[in-house]
Structures are given as C-alpha cells and as structure tokens.
C-alpha cells in the first residue's frame, strides 16, 4: 500500500474543539507543516492567546506558553530574549491582537522583535459568543451591535496589516486567506516566508489569515467561505504589505 497522505507530525493526536467549518484547524495545520518542512519543529516555542485558539497548545506539537488576552507579543518577546536563536511565534485572533493587544503588537513590531505572528482575522469574537471586534465589517450583525456595525458609533474596521506595515521594525507583513485551496497554498507560502525571514533575523514578521466563524456569523460552513470571499476580501485585500526585499524608507 502506498501512503499518499499522512498527518503532519507538527500536530498532536488531539482532536480539536473548533466548530465545524471553522478554518482555525486549516491554519494550525499550515503552521505545523511549515515548521516540519523548515525543520524547525523541535526548537520552536509558541505563544498562545485568549480566544478560540486558547487551546492551540493542545494541537500544535511544540513547546508553548499561554498568554493573557492580547499579551502574546510581549510574552514572545520574553521567550525570544531568552532563546534568540530559536523560532518563536504567536498565534492570535482579532479580538486578542487588534483590540486588547494593540499596544503589545505595535511595540513588538516597533522593536523589530524577531518573532512570527499568525494573526487569524475572522471579524468577530468567536470564543465569547460573537461580539463585535475592531475588525467587524460595517453592517455586520454581531451580539454587541445587533443592528449591524455602524461607522458613526464604532468607527471603521481596523486594518492591522496595513497599520503594522508602517512600523519601521516590521520586516514582512502579508495578508492571506484560506477560503479555497488556492488561497490555502498561498497562505502556506506566506507562513513559510515569515518563519524563514524570522530565522534570518530580518525583523518582525506577521501573516494575517482571513478566517471563517460559521457559528458567530450564523452561516453554514460553505456559505461562510463565500461570505469571507465576498465581504472580507474587498475590505481586507490579500497582498504583501511589507517585505524585506523592499527597504523601509529612512
């Protein structure tokens, strides 16, 4: 019998708790595969976050430390300063990174912290039950904006990749998606680049991954992928915002 596919050793045997159709599982797998392919798995130290991915340490086959809500970039800074030669990453959602943790992510980038941030943006607070995030789209109905997000009341959705690309210490910032196989392949390439640049000590690296939340959005898994493509991508364009190949203007 020929083995045509096997699960990456970058993931543990634990079954995930994610809802059906949630793309966290896909993104976990991409991170795990990249770490295996770059032969980094054994040295890698991950920093978890608070939100749906709080239990990511149960699924990723690497040493991990939990972080309080939003603080993963500071925790990762502490880890990296102890182990400057080891790959260190944070895995954060949009409530965690774009709301309560804005100071920590901006300053990790600002210091040019040699870490990789996997930023999973599903435009909602998933774990706490579908509340508004800074990334929630205009008109999007959420439990704390039951009539839909209103610009006058809550402002425009925050584009973190665009924002962090302005920070001199950022080396690589790309936004990708996982709504179809082609996008997934692109996302994996981006994550691979981010870890590669980290190991080359280029500076702060982040991959924003647009993700679904069928439960929070109140849509089926299939409709969620479609909603992401039709609503999120127009506002959150998929592109490379910063790359070490282009020098930051001095």
């Amino acid at each position: 019998m020929t083995v045509v596919f096997s699960k990456t050793p970058g993931l543990t045997e634990n079954e995930t708790h994610y809802c059906p159709g949630c793309t966290h599982g896909t993104i976990h797998r991409l991170v795990a595969e990249v770490l295996v392919e770059l032969d980094l798995l054994e040295d890698t130290i991950g920093c978890g976050s608070v939100g749906c991915s709080v239990l990511s340490y149960n699924y990723l086959n690497v040493d991990m430390v939990e972080s309080a809500h939003g603080r993963a970039p500071a925790v990762a800074t502490g880890v990296k300063r102890v182990h400057p030669d080891k790959p260190v990453f944070t895995y954060q959602g949009d409530g965690d990174l774009a709301s309560i943790g804005t100071a920590e992510i901006v300053h990790a980038a600002h210091r040019g912290e040699k870490i990789t941030t996997i930023f999973v943006n599903n435009a909602i607070y998933g774990m706490t039950g579908g509340q508004m995030a800074p990334t929630t789209l205009i008109g999007q109905k959420v439990t704390t904006a039951p009539d839909g997000r209103d610009i006058a009341h809550s402002g425009m959705p925050l584009r973190m990749s665009e924002m962090l690309a302005q920070v001199p210490g950022s080396a690589y910032i790309e936004r990708v998606s996982v709504h179809n196989p082609k996008a997934v392949r692109r996302a994996k390439r981006a994550i691979k680049k981010a870890f590669t640049y980290q190991m080359e000590r280029k500076g702060f690296t982040m991959v924003e991954v647009l993700s679904t939340c069928p439960t929070g959005w109140g849509l089926s898994p299939i409709d969620s992928l479609k909603w992401l493509e039709e609503n999120m991508i127009p506002y959150y364009p998929l592109k490379v915002f910063r790359s070490p190949e282009e020098d930051y203007p001095q």
Binding site: T12, L41, E42, D43, T44, I45, C47, G48, V54, L55, Y57, N58, L60, N61, V62, D63, M64, V65, E66, S67, A68, R71, A74, V75, A76, T77, G78, V79, K80, R81, V82, H83, K86, A103, E104, V106, H107, H110
Partner: protein, 352 residues
C-alpha cells in the same frame, strides 16, 4: 568586594546581577528609575539582557515569557505600575513561574504622588490580581538588607516556583547607605524541566498554562498551590524583635517606617518608657508568632505605617483580641517623624 555607598535602588539592581538575574524587563516610573537605569547600563556588560518595555503590562508579560523559557527574571516598578502588572502577577502565580518583582512604593491611590509610602500592603499581600493566590513579600529596612533580600528572593522564587515581591519604598530606594556584597557566588538556578525551550524531538511538548475550564481540575490546582503556601508559612516567615521582652508597648512597623520607629523607641527610652518593635521582614507570610508570645509586661500594640492602616489588619489577626491594637500613620508620601510616634505612644499609655 569593599563596602560601597549606594542608593537602595542601585543596591537592588547590583544585587540582582550578582544574584544571577539573566533578564530584566521594566518601564520607567519614579521613584524606582535608578534600578532600570542601572540595569540598562550594567546588564549588557555582564552578558545579561535588559529590555525597556512599552508599558508595565508588557513588562510583566515579558517576564512571563522569559520565566517560562527558563530565564532568571526580574522586573521593578512603583505602586501604580504594580497595579498595572496585576494581570501578569496573577498569571505568574497561577502558572508557577519564578521571578522577582520589586515594588518601590509611592503615595496613592490613583496616580498619587512620588514620595515614599507603604500603601501597597494590601496590593502585595492580599492578591491584587484575581483568584486564590499568595506571593512571598520580603520587606527590607536598610540598603544592606535590600541587597541581601534580592539574593534570597531569586532563591525563593526558584525553590517555590513562585513570584517573589520585594517591598521597598521611595525612601529606601532613594537613600544611600553603606552596603557590602561579600564574595558569595550567585546560587545556581534550579533545573527547569518544565520550561519551554523546544522539545528537541525528545519529549512531549511542554505547556506553561493556567487555563482550567473543568472546575474540579481548577480546584485541585488551587489546593495544590495552597499546600505550597502552607509550606511557605511554615518555613519562610522572618521578623526582627527589637527590645520586645521588656516593652510595655510594642510597636509594629516594616521597611522605612521601622527605622523611624527605632528612633522613637530611643526617644521614649530617654523618658523611661519601655517600648519595643516587631519588624516583619516578610509581609506575606506575616509573622504571627511574635504577637502571640508577647510578655505580660506588654499592655498594648501600636501599628505604624506610611498608609491609612493596612498591615494593622494582620497585626489584629495575630494579636487576636488579647491586647488593644492601635494605629498611627502618615499617608500621601509623608514620612512620620519620630516625635509624632512618641506623642502617640504617650497618649496611648496616658503619660505626659
């Protein structure tokens, strides 16, 4: 090393380096900046890591990361900064991560002032952060003791896998006094098989975490920590008794205030009033025993603090109704004068 004249803050910083501190994370705040500045200058020379964080919140979370990764880690701040750090401190206690946290106390509440205070007693001994936890708190009264307690704090942090507070204040941090470091070598760091360093393909991944969604599991974790705290109470309590046996009134004060109280006791002695001092050197665990073993001569207890009265709760619990316990304090950054304390003692004893 010869005797040196150093600020309390600088002695804390040098003692941290000599105590084997590998990583320091901090954020500027008065009156503790000499610690941060000293370490910024000296840590790199010693091959260690200094990093200025963007906030106290970030600093304490960097401590979380560095401690989880196996470093010997310290941070320092002053009262409002320690308030900001409470999320991380609760997390450090829960995750059982060793570290040293220096609090050079200033007047509060709120932004308050920058002059010396002891109004963070509750903050340091009653939690401060969420949940059931306790943190060892060492309270030096001299620059020499500041240096010695930092050394001990790193050892205790490793021994119990716990954060340890150093409860200093603006007076002790800013004043200079002779200090000797001796030639003692830093203690070796404990083995940390639990640290996140990369599993190397040789073991299951390590996870440093505090989340426990199953109440039974969380209760078990909390009870296990209580056992650790019981061991601290049994073995780590420190205090100084000063002229307690002959005293008709026993004063209780820690840190800077204990120095003023000693002056007051001398002045009282000149007026033939026998007063003594119990000086807690650990605020948590609090030394109950000396209050339970007071001689029959002792008629009352007076707790003196640079606060509106916080440690007095512990003094009352320790005395447990056997004697009247009174309070005298100055707050807002005022250091009480010995004469004020003398006046209060005379009033309580009905002397002129």
């Amino acid at each position: 090393m010869a005797k040196m004249l150093m600020k309390g803050n600088e002695a804390l910083a040098l003692a941290a380096i000599r105590g084997g501190c590998t990583h320091y994370f901090g954020y500027p705040i008065t009156p503790q900046n000499e610690i941060t500045e000293y370490l910024a200058r000296e840590m790199p020379k010693a091959g260690r890591v200094f990093l200025q964080a963007e906030s106290e919140i970030a600093a304490i979370n960097m401590v979380v990361g560095a401690s989880a990764a196996g470093g010997r880690v310290m941070t320092s701040s002053s009262s409002p900064g320690i308030a900001l750090m409470q999320e991380g401190i609760s997390g450090l206690a829960a995750a059982e991560l060793p570290c040293v946290i220096v609090n050079v106390q200033r007047g509060g509440p709120g932004i308050g002032g920058i002059q010396p205070s002891q109004a963070d007693y509750y903050q340091m001994t009653r939690g401060g952060g969420n949940g059931d936890y306790s943190i060892l708190a060492l309270a030096p009264a001299t620059v020499q003791e500041s240096a010695e307690m930092i050394r001990d704090a790193f050892q205790l942090a490793d021994k119990y896998r716990s954060p340890v507070f150093i409860a200093s204040d603006g007076m002790l941090g800013q004043m200079m006094e002779p200090v000797e470091f001796g030639d003692t070598q830093p203690t070796l760091m404990a083995e940390k098989p639990w640290a996140v360093v990369g599993h190397g393909g040789k073991r299951k991944p390590n996870t440093v975490k505090t989340l426990a969604l199953d109440p039974l599991v969380l209760e078990e974790m909390n009870l296990a920590r209580q056992k650790k705290y019981a061991q601290m109470i049994a073995t780590e309590i420190r205090y100084e008794n000063f002229q307690v046996d002959t005293a008709e009134i026993v004063l209780c004060a820690y840190g800077s205030t204990s120095r003023i109280v000693k002056n007051a006791i001398d002045l009282l002695g000149q007026e033939k009033i026998a007063a003594g001092l119990i000086r807690p050197q650990t605020l948590w665990p609090f030394p109950d025993a000396p209050f339970q073993n007071l001689s029959k001569k002792c008629r009352r207890v007076l707790c003196v603090e640079m606060s509106c009265g916080q440690m007095i709760d512990d003094v009352r619990l320790a005395v447990n109704g056997r004697l009247p316990v009174d309070f005298f304090g100055r707050t807002g950054g005022i250091i009480p004068a010995p004469e004020e304390i003398v006046g209060q003692v005379k009033l309580l004893l009905g002397r002129k």
